[in-house]
Amino acid sequence: MKFSYFPGCTDHSTSYEYGRSTLSVLEALGVELVEIEDWNCCGAAATHSINHLLSLCLPARNISKAQSAQAGPLVVPCAGCFNMLKRTEYVFKQDEVKRKKIEEIVGFTYQPSFEILALLDVILNRIGLEKIRGRVKRPLKNLKTACYYGCALVRHPKITHFDDPENPQSMDRLMESLGAQPVGWSYKNDCCGADLALTHGDVVRELVGRIVLMSQEAGAHCIVTSCGLCQANLEMRQDLGVPIFYFTELMGVAFDVDGRDRWWKKHMISPKRLLDSLGLT
């Protein structure tokens, strides 16, 4: 199985451990990834907030490069990057006038059959949970996880076409297949406050505080995410010491891949004590 890969800017900075654990577990599953040559920033929230056309052209350049590479569908770990790429795809499919304008600016022709997929989608629906279960060496027994989907992965459903926007289940099912116990809770897709963290930290503290508190009320040991910004906000703006994982890190524990200590070192709230207590080091 081969995919084009879009790491995103935070892959070598603030969500370093997400990138490393992704590569690790996909290698363990025998999936080949071809990083897009000379990819650029997807634009993120900042660009679509101030320049609509630019916010479509930046992802379009990446789509153009991935198409040329002909290395299979494009897989995107970061939920934010995924959302930006899908917004461009949505415009390409809905608005011929805009599509032609963007194609002219970026200098390519869009192939409507080209697929852009979230990493979680690929794991569930392309690789399949059967294969995941087969690769599990150390089931995550007794680990209660609150799966947190955030916003960009599931909304707006007309753009993301992935899972249910009000009660998504894909990460929960993945956790089950790893032997963990996902808890039911009603804050799984409540916004963490995103980049308000830098300008309005107090707002993010309130939003995050509620989310983390509710995860504890639901009986979870930890929260599991698929977005670098969510992970950073949840870790850095709470006071309860609840570890925040990327779902690929937990896959790595269950698959018993090498080098996991390097991921834990990057966390602001170390998950080591929790993992030790459950015999999952």
């Binding site: 634009g43 101030i50 056309l53 930046l58 916003c151 308000l196 300008t199 309005h200 930290g201």
Partner: protein, 185 residues
């Protein structure tokens, strides 16, 4: 989004301009308030999302574009997903922000706009965001030096804020894209 001439803007009502620019129709709203109920930052806004829609209908250009609300929206799309009339309020908010910038209306949440601009500038420079220079750029412009000093240091000590930027080869392509997106709007 269509670029409008000044003459067209003068003749067109605020509502029509918002409709043309965003592709969304605020007239469809019947004030069910689902948007405001689900909005994570509504408690902190000066004007709630459902009122923004109403004020657009009423042509209250200055109040809407001069609000803090349009900058506090984080585009989580909870509103757009739930609206029974399928008004994508997140997209609407993007258009309102762009209109405020185009008309030179100072952002009532100045630091939020400064951060967006620092972020986009960082992309223009290297093709990818370099957090260190972006944050310095933002801090110098906002004069907000003290906030998050300690969390920032912690991130840096963990090696999560690289000092060396990752510059792409195709920086010329990026520059050309930027220029085309700024002029021909």
């Amino acid at each position: 989004m269509e670029a409008l001439t000044n003459r067209e803007k003068m003749e067109m009502s605020f509502l029509e301009e918002v409709k043309r620019k965003s592709g969304e129709d605020p007239n469809l709203c019947y004030q069910c308030l689902k948007c405001t109920a689900g909005c994570p930052t509504a408690p902190y806004m000066d004007i709630r999302p459902n009122n923004i829609i109403r004020m657009i209908q009423m042509g209250m250009r200055r109040e809407v574009l001069g609000s803090r609300a349009i900058w506090l929206c984080v585009s989580c799309e909870t509103c757009g997903t739930r609206c029974p009339n399928e008004i994508d309020i997140g997209v609407l908010m993007d258009s309102l922000r762009e209109m405020a910038i185009e008309e030179g209306i100072p952002a009532q949440e100045r630091n939020i706009l400064l951060l967006h601009q620092a972020f986009v500038q960082s992309i223009r420079r290297g093709g990818r965001v370099h957090e260190a220079t972006m944050l310095i750029d933002y801090k110098l412009k906002s004069k907000d030096f003290m906030t998050d000093l300690i969390p920032g240091m912690k991130l840096f000590l963990k090696g999560k804020i690289p000092l060396v930027p990752s510059l792409i080869k195709g920086r010329d392509e990026i520059k050309r894209i930027f220029e085309k997106c700024e002029k021909g709007k």
